[in-house]
């Protein structure tokens, strides 16, 4: 495997991961911009409108047929919030030519051309996007925003984040807000697209069997050539100074559920980006594996839950604890969770716990390059934090963590919000 980053123009990078581990080539285009309350809905809508048709492939039907003919190349797009950025993500995955019945297709070339066409060469009618597409996709986004309630556990997590941060920065919902939709039309949406395209950070990833020709195809692509140099307006995801609130917040919502969903958001008062590695180990011991305090105590000892875990969102520097419990067991469970956090502060974990946690994390690091999309996600995460660390150095850094490092983290953990979704 070979990774290279090539600056095409200011603000536009091509990352290529040359590997023969996969049957497929995976191409990703990420448009990254600082998330803003006033733009968030428009940007989400842009991604939905782009996939409806481009200048040379005017309908969804035409795009779908082209993809099917390319041996089921799959095109996908989505919205993410990474740190304080909104990221419009576009992917195309197609079969490596070696595995086609006839070897004459050059599917990689076709895939590159198609994805650049969809993202950078939209269907324009009278200075705007296609009106019908915009109206249909407004309905579509409205449904997506409403469908937040369908997955109850994820909804609880979203609401916990909102309670912690308000509707600002991290608290902004990545798909935007229904009340914004009314004012959006095909003209002002196209204006926002042009603005976005001139300001956002652009990262193009190609993972698969790549050669000189691939690079040439990209550099000489008309849609890439017409992109301007830019001062990218995005927010690096490095650690930021943050006030730790003095008081815990409590929020409870009611919905028709048969099981209560408990989410607890934790702040971690660390000063250096580098300490995030220590938090990874802390989190694994607290709730990140089957050996964790959460799993062992909430599930195995007290039988209160099937799901009892925690996860560390590195770009936000918060840990979230999740449990699905009987509604009447809310207080009991919260008490047990508090006890686990206290026990961590009181150094009630062993050298063995640390070694086990390290193994779990290192195994995860070693398999990053064995999955095509996780390889891209990892590189992109580094790109956003301006921190380049090889997998080997990453492993070495994890191996160096001591009990003292973790105790230091444990003592800087505070409950920010206790959120409960109940009947």
């Amino acid at each position: 495997m070979e990774y290279k980053k090539i600056n095409i123009k200011k603000g536009i990078n091509l990352h290529y991961i040359n590997t023969d581990k996969f049957k497929t080539n995976l191409i990703a285009v990420f448009l990254t911009t600082t998330i803003k309350r006033e733009d968030v809905t428009k940007n989400a809508l842009i991604s939905a409108v782009l996939r409806r048709g481009s200048k040379n492939m005017k309908t969804q039907e035409e795009i779908s047929k082209a993809l099917e003919n390319m041996y089921g190349a799959s095109f996908d797009c989505g919205i993410d919030r990474t740190g304080k950025n909104q990221v419009l993500k576009f992917y195309i995955e197609s079969i490596n030519d070696n595995f086609l019945p006839n070897n004459k297709e050059n599917l990689l070339k076709q895939s590159l051309e198609r994805i650049f066409e969809i993202v950078f060469n939209p269907l324009i009618e009278e200075n705007g996007f296609n009106k019908a597409y915009v109206n249909q996709e407004k309905d579509n986004i409205k449904n997506i925003i409403k469908s937040r309630i369908d997955n109850k556990a994820r909804y609880a997590m979203d609401r916990c984040i909102e309670t912690m941060y308000g509707k600002d920065g991290y608290g902004i919902f990545k798909y935007g807000y229904i009340e914004d939709l009314e004012k959006i039309d095909n003209i002002n949406l196209y204006e926002q697209y042009q603005k976005l395209l001139n300001e956002c950070k652009i990262d193009i990833f190609v993972s698969g069997k790549i050669n000189e020709e691939t690079l040439k195809i990209i550099k000489e692509n008309e849609n890439i050539k017409k992109l301007n140099e830019r001062e990218s307006k995005y927010t690096p995801t490095n650690l930021e100074k943050r006030e730790i609130p003095k008081q815990e917040k409590n929020q409870t919502d009611s919905m028709q559920v048969s099981q209560g969903k408990l989410t607890i958001g934790l702040d971690i008062d660390i000063k250096n980006e580098d300490e995030k590695f220590d938090v990874l180990i802390y989190n694994t011991i607290l709730g990140g594996s089957a050996n964790s305090k959460m799993f062992q105590n909430v599930r195995e000892k007290e039988h209160l839950a099937y799901v009892a875990s925690s996860s560390y969102l590195r770009h936000m520097n918060n840990i979230f604890i999740n449990c699905g419990i009987e509604i009447e067991n809310f207080e009991k469970t919260v008490d047990i969770v508090r006890k686990q956090i206290e026990d961590m502060k009181n150094e009630e974990f062993s050298e063995e716990d640390i070694q086990n946690a390290k193994k779990v994390i290192i195994s995860g690091i070693k398999s990053i390059d064995d999955e095509q999309d996780s390889g891209i996600t990892y590189k992109f995460g580094q790109e956003l934090s301006n921190m380049e660390i090889s997998l080997e150095d990453y492993i070495n850094r994890i191996n160096k963590i001591t009990k003292e490092d973790i105790i230091k983290i444990a003592k800087s953990v505070y409950i920010n919000t206790i959120y409960f979704l109940k009947d």
Partner: protein, 423 residues
Amino acid sequence: MQVQENLKVKEKIYIEKLENGLTIMIIPKKGIQKKFVVWGTNYGSNDSEFIAPGEKSKTEVPKGVAHFLEHKMFEQENGTNSLDTLTALGVNANAYTTNDHTAYLYECTDNFYEALDELMDYVQHPYFTDENVEKEKGIIGQEIKMYDDYPEWKVYLNTLEAMYYNHPIKLDITGTVETISHINKDILYKCYNTFYNPSNMAMVVCGDFEPDEILLEIRKRLIEKESQGEIKRIYPEEPEKIVKEKVEQNMEVSQPIYTIGIKDVKPKEETKVKKHIAIEILLNIIFGKSSKLYKELYDNGIIYGGASLDYEFSRGYAHILITGQSKEPEKVYEKFKEEIKLLKKNGISEEDFERNKKMIYGEYIKEYNDVSDIARMFISDYFKGINSFDYLEEIQSINTGYLNDLLIDVFKEEKMVISIVKN
């Protein structure tokens, strides 16, 4: 060992059937760090009535035993839990139960053989006590409630209930809080001794292995057990007709979720792979993203995304499932039926067929990207009596004539049901 090579996807499988009846399948993947092993038994939630080898009378156990047994297998006599032991080795261990099989697995980069010691030890040494069985009822109770909050799961189960009178496929894999209350350690031992005999089991390993070496390592870890006689599985007589055409349930969801089901006849040994591929192609022609039906419903705002299109089958059942979200599910159902009528009249176009055939071929190739996906595919196909490579070969034998026949034989209006979950 028997070796098979597939020239399309360029992979090999080594298959060995041991004296004790255990089937071992090894798929070597050079240069990949991740290793994956799954050990399964031909025993799922559908197998609750049977005659054990050597016995004359029938045994009937409560619904949910296979899944309960899966949970309890991790418990060890020395008081340890194998999930903890495996996690401490840094491997990612898990287990799952389906309608027709139960499987124990892990994925890792290091400590493969240490973990294999543990996996093969715990699957061969059950340890059930009254106390540890009682404890699990609380945890599984919460797992059942977690599923109760998934609208996709409810809409699925309701579809099966509308299609099936007697076949146990219609029952929840986990059982209910009521059925699992009757489970005790004697029932678990009875099912273990019946179904966890090597002659009823198979193991798949995928990763960077020398086939002879890994085979030897597996053999070393097997305890001596004789191959047993046949297990007689008893499935109730199932009429060909459906139970009722429509079933609705209320849950708090943003938009109605629907599943259209089509009950099919039991699969035939010789044709099941071919039929499976052909039905997948047909479903894509009818309701895939390039279809007329999709375009019409999308443009009219009735649907706002693709539906999942599946053909499921195993011992004694087969059905089609089409699942999506729509503000007017009845309209989707009506239009779907109209489209089928039209296709029956006009026949499948060669162009649609060729395009969708290419797409399906690409989908099958993509299955071979990841060691865990490969192993999971081979084991679940194995318990259906299928070698996964067959899909890549059989696809060539399909033509529009066959599709037109299936359209008439399978897509019958009187076999269709619709299940809706809405507010």
